[in-house]
Symmetry: C2
DNA sequence: CTGAAAGCGCTAACAT
DNA sequence: ATGTTAGCGCTTTCAG
């Protein structure tokens, strides 16, 4: 294994010079730099990560904690993870993959050991058990999702309330007066992930402002379940003409069922989905939709982490530990929803009484 | 930050004793161990990962390289990643998340720097560019997927050939004589990922042995595309009664289309899918399917890595570098497919000429 | 602009 | 059963 010392000898310089060529923290004369760089090439030198972490007390690793549960928004989770990984690399950082399986303690383990310099937590619940640990951790963290109390935290999420309002606006503009929401599985609401509730809140608020009626029915992804939800909707509100779906696995079944029941989309019923574009465009009728900006969420999370890492330079590791940490800044970055009009929404049908 | 030395002082023992309590590599008397453990608790000690890696030349990290592409088998990829993460933790290892975005060089970077002790590569293609680097890397690697030449490599995958044969067997037993395969997107075949071809090979082999006819049509996931494939199938072989689908995003549209065309499943047409159970059970007709054992693939990959890490103890890092590495063992672990019969397959309809 | 040298916190011989 | 100690490879003062 090639060490920095060997590179130094080979290049005829001191170890520190090689180190500074690598880090760029000191001005090095062009000829020296070139000699060193050539030696690095020729010897095939790779700086040892452990030694570097030990000496600098930075691992250049960001931990990403993902939900183990694989029942919801899988493509979105995946896209966020990939965005985090690529953005982190673009900033010279690596990503450590954690799952919530290990429990909140994982935060302490990874930060305490210096394995990671910072954390990104996905799928944050309203009263997340990891929050206490995040607060006391001496390293930055960014949450994807919005807990109930964001004081002192840094969070990124889609503005789901605005998303709900936007869907209603779109349908209202097309003349729809009776709306229904096919929501997430009941378990999602019980888990208090927040985003589902926020969507409903947005829908209700805007509907109230515009004087529209709304019916909300939770729904598992299965065909059966969608059928049930749909039946109850038309049973209770036969005049429903606009549907908002927030459950990507429900969109396929929904369109099948509507067709089966002789309801044309968008002539009889308009459908707006909250789902990835890929899902929206692969259905029999291309769906008007609000996409979850997964890539941007991942990218923003990393950028916020990087900002906090630069900011906390002098403070964080500073000197001995007993100094009270300064109260942390609260940052809540809600991404604006964007609705793409496709083939599934149209003018509300004339009432034929 | 609490160090091992502080723990040692607090417990009134030497540093090495603390170290050995932690690693269990030496027998420690019960009272001493308890004292040390109490000190560790009281002081809130976490061993420093960098120092440990430097001193032991092991990071206890396994790198997992995932495809960035998010167009295929996303839930499967996700499940593999989660299985790798949890299994690795169960073995006291952490997982570093890499993407193929960085290129094959990532292998060298991560291994060369000692960041990871071993690698798991997902989505391995027949002629994968990472293979040369894997061969020359001084650390173990496990591939998920099967390259063209497996010599000296360790691979895990579903036995897709057997999967193809199994699907045909199932349909043949039910009396079907004219089969069709709705395959992966053309791009998948062009990329030479291997698994898609192997499935077709298995289907063809078994069909030939049993004297059945088979038509294979690639297919994108979209509704349009499935409609096209289906149309061509019934156009060329109107007597087709059994369909094998290897494209999870095609199953929803397929069932819709069949219903729309007045073909009952399974009375007129039997459908076997190669897809996750979750997909198979959420459709309007529960699908007879062969699941891709994603969790097991991830778990096995980690177990193979662990085995190689234990095996390569003396050899790997041993002494100076110029010693020729011994030729590596070839391990190809193909998982047997299991077919679950559900509602989408049944006796072939009687011919009504 | 470059060197010398003191650690960073831990592991693993080598002692006893 | 435990202690002593020499590094592991790098970063970063402190000197020039």
């Amino acid at each position: 294994m090639v060490t920095l010392a060997e590179v130094a000898r080979h290049a005829g310089v001191s170890a520190s010079t090689v180190s500074y060529v690598l880090s760029g923290k000191r001005t090095i004369s062009a000829p020296t730099r070139e000699r060193v760089e050539r030696s690095i090439q020729e010897l095939g030198y790779h700086p040892n990560a452990g030694a570097r972490a030990l000496a600098s007390s930075r691992s250049d690793i960001i931990a990403l904690m993902m939900p183990l549960r694989t029942d919801m928004y899988v493509p979105v989770m995946m896209e966020i993870a990939m965005a985090v990984a690529t953005t982190a690399r673009a900033h010279g950082r690596d990503v450590l993959l954690l799952t919530d399986q290990e429990g909140p303690e994982a935060v302490r383990r990874v930060i305490g050991s210096g394995l990671a310099d910072a954390m990104i937590l996905m799928d944050v619940e309203l009263e997340d058990e990891r929050l206490p640990l995040v607060h006391e951790a001496p390293r930055p963290a960014v949450l994807i999702g919005l807990p109930a109390d964001t004081e002192g935290l840094t969070c990124v999420d889609l503005d789901f309330t605005a998303t709900g309002r936007l869907c209603v606006d779109h349908l209202a503009t097309l003349g729809h007066r009776e709306l229904a929401v096919i929501g997430e599985a009941a378990a999602v609401y019980e888990r208090h992930t927040g985003f589902a509730e926020r969507t409903i809140t947005g829908v209700r608020e805007r509907a109230a402002e515009l004087g529209l009626r709304v019916l909300h029915r939770p729904c598992e992804g299965s065909f059966e379940s969608v059928a049930g939800a749909l039946a109850r909707i038309f049973d209770e509100r036969p005049a429903t003409t606009g549907i908002v779906v927030q459950n990507e696995s429900a969109v396929g079944p929904l369109l099948s069922l509507l067709r089966q029941q002789g309801k044309a989309v968008p002539e009889d019923i308009s459908v707006v989905a909250i789902c990835p574009d890929q899902v929206a465009t692969q259905t029999s009728v291309a769906l008007t939709s609000v996409a979850i900006p997964a890539h941007e969420m991942g990218r923003r999370a990393v950028e916020l982490v990087m900002a906090k890492l630069s900011a906390g330079k002098g403070a964080g590791t500073g000197t001995a530990g007993r100094v009270a940490a300064p109260p942390r800044e609260t940052v809540v970055r809600l991404l604006a929803p964007r609705l793409t009009t496709r083939a599934s929404t149209g003018q509300a049908p004339r009432l034929v009484p």
